[in-house]
C-alpha cells in the first residue's frame, strides 16, 4: 500500500481558537501513519472577508498559498472548511477565467498552480485512506454514541467547486463516523448556515441561526454534534451557553471536531484530543458511554 503524505494547511483558527482541532488532527494522522508536513510560512487565505469585498485579493492570497504548498511533498490537507472552500474556489475560478488568472499571476509574480490536489481531512480519511482501512484501525468503537453530523455551508457548496460529496445530500461525514462505530441521526439542519463570521460583527444573527441548528440536533436524539470547521465549532460550542440563556432552553450538546471523535475510536486519550478545550464539557457523556 502506498504511503500517504500531505502538505498541511492548518489555517489561522487552528493556531488559536481551534487549537484542539490542530492537536487532534496531528495526533490522529500520526496514529493512522499518515504523513503531515506543515507548509512553511503559510498565511491567511483571506477567508470570507477577502472575497466579500476584493475577489482579486482573495484569489491572489490563495494562489500564493497554493504555490507555497507545492514546495512540500504530497497533496494539500486542509482542516478548515472555509480555507478549503477558498482554495478550491480559487482553483476553480482561475481555471475558468484567463483574465483573472493573468491578474493573479501578476499580483503574486508567479504562475498559478491549478493542478495541485486540495483535500479536506474528511476526503483523506474517507477516500485516500479509505473507510475499510479506517475501520480496521478502530480499536475503541464508539458504540451507542448518536452523532449529528453537521456540514454547514462550505464543505459541499456550491455543487461544482469543492467536489467533496453531493451538495444537497452528502453522506461523507456519516460514513466516516459510522466506520468509527458510532450511530448517526437523521436531522433537518445539517446543511444550514450557522452565521459563520457574523459572530464578530452581528452575533445576534449567529444566536438565531445556531439555536435552530442545536434545536434540530437535540430533537433528532443526538448525544453530540460533529463538525469539520472551526467557525461552525465556535458558534455551536462557544456560543451554546449564551444561546441557552437567550432562548431559555437547555441543550448540553458537546460539539466535537471529526478528528476528536475518530481519534477517540483509534484509542487516543483525552490529552491528545484537546477535549479540555471544549466549552461544553464532553466528559460526562464520554464517561457514561464508557469511552474514557
Amino acid at each position: 500500500m502506498k504511503e500517504l503524505n500531505y502538505s498541511y494547511y492548518p489555517g489561522c483558527s487552528l493556531h488559536a481558537s481551534a487549537g484542539e482541532y490542530d492537536l487532534s488532527t496531528r495526533e490522529l494522522f500520526k496514529a493512522l501513519r499518515i504523513g503531515l508536513t506543515e507548509i512553511p510560512d503559510w498565511f491567511c487565505c483571506g477567508a470570507t472577508p477577502a472575497h466579500n469585498v476584493d475577489e482579486l485579493l482573495s484569489l491572489s492570497l490563495c494562489a500564493k498559498n497554493l504555490e507555497l504548498a507545492d514546495k512540500v511533498e504530497g497533496d494539500m490537507a486542509v482542516a478548515c472548511a472555509s480555507c478549503f472552500s477558498r482554495l478550491k474556489t480559487a482553483q476553480h475560478v482561475l481555471g475558468e477565467s484567463d483574465v483573472k488568472r493573468k491578474q493573479v499571476e501578476k499580483a503574486i509574480d508567479a504562475p498559478v498552480k491549478l493542478d495541485s490536489n486540495v483535500k479536506h481531512l474528511l476526503e483523506i480519511l474517507a477516500k485516500d485512506l479509505g473507510l475499510e482501512r479506517l475501520a480496521a484501525a478502530v480499536n475503541k468503537p464508539l458504540s451507542g454514541l448518536k452523532v449529528a453530523c453537521y456540514y454547514g455551508c462550505l464543505l459541499t457548496r456550491p455543487a461544482d467547486v469543492p467536489n467533496l460529496d453531493c451538495a444537497e445530500a452528502p453522506t461523507i461525514m456519516e460514513r466516516v463516523i459510522e466506520a468509527a462505530g458510532a450511530e448517526t441521526v437523521a436531522w433537518t439542519h445539517r446543511l444550514e448556515c450557522c452565521g459563520a463570521n457574523f459572530t464578530l460583527s452581528r452575533p445576534g444573527v449567529v444566536l438565531q441561526l445556531t439555536n435552530a441548528i442545536l434545536e434540530s440536533a437535540k430533537a433528532a436524539g443526538a448525544d453530540c454534534i460533529m463538525v469539520g470547521c472551526p467557525l461552525c465549532h465556535g458558534n455551536l460550542d462557544i456560543r451554546q451557553k449564551e444561546i441557552e440563556g437567550v432562548y431559555s432552553t437547555s441543550y448540553g450538546l458537546p460539539v466535537f471536531y471529526l478528528t476528536q471523535l475518530v481519534g477517540l475510536s483509534v484509542g487516543l486519550g483525552a490529552d491528545k484530543l484537546g477535549l479540555d478545550a471544549m466549552m461544553v464539557n464532553p466528559m460526562p457523556l464520554l464517561k457514561e458511554k464508557g469511552f474514557l
Binding site: D41, A47, V53, P158, D276
Partner: protein, 194 residues
Amino acid sequence: MKKKKMVISQETMDVDFVRKVEALSGTSVRRCFQCGKCSAGCPMATFMEHPPNRVVRLLQLGQWQRVLAGRSIWYCASCETCTTRCPNKVDLASIMDALRKLSWDAEGASKESYVQLANKLFLQNIRTYGRQYEMRLAAVFNVKSGQFLKDLMLGPKLLAKGKLKMFHSKNKNMPEIEKIFTRIEEMRKKGEAL
C-alpha cells in the same frame, strides 16, 4: 420610513453598473426568471430588506442604487445555498461579492457598518501579521464599533481554555505578502484590474 416610489425610465436605469457586476461575478443577471428558490433557501433573507431574488430583479431593472443603499448585501453570509440551487445557473453568491466590492470602493454607500468594519480589520490583520490575530481582531472591533462590553464575559473563559492567544508573531514572509497587496493596488491605479 416612507418607501420611495420606484420609477423605471431611461434616466433611472443604469445598465453600465450592472454590466460591471456581471463582469466581476462572471455571471448574468438576465438569466434569472424570478423563481425565488434563492430567497426560499437563504438563511439570511429574514434579516434583509431585499431578499436575494429581489436583489437580482433590481439589477435587471438597473436600480442598483436601491440595492447598495440597503444592508442586504452585507447580511449575505456567503453560504452558497442560492448559487447551489439556482435552476438557471445564476451565481448569486458571486453577484453579492461583486456588489459588496463596488459598494466598498464607493466607501460607505451602505448603512451596514459593523460588517464592513469587521472585514476591514480582518484584511488589515493579514497585511500586518500574515495570519489572523483573533484576539486583536475582537478587541479592536469592540473599540472601533463602540461596543466595549461585547462578549466581555466570554474573553476570560476563552483565555482559560487556551482559545485566545494574547501574543501573536508575524509571518517571516511578510515582505512577500505585502507585495501582493501593493501589486494589486498598482494594477488598479493603472486600470489593469477592477
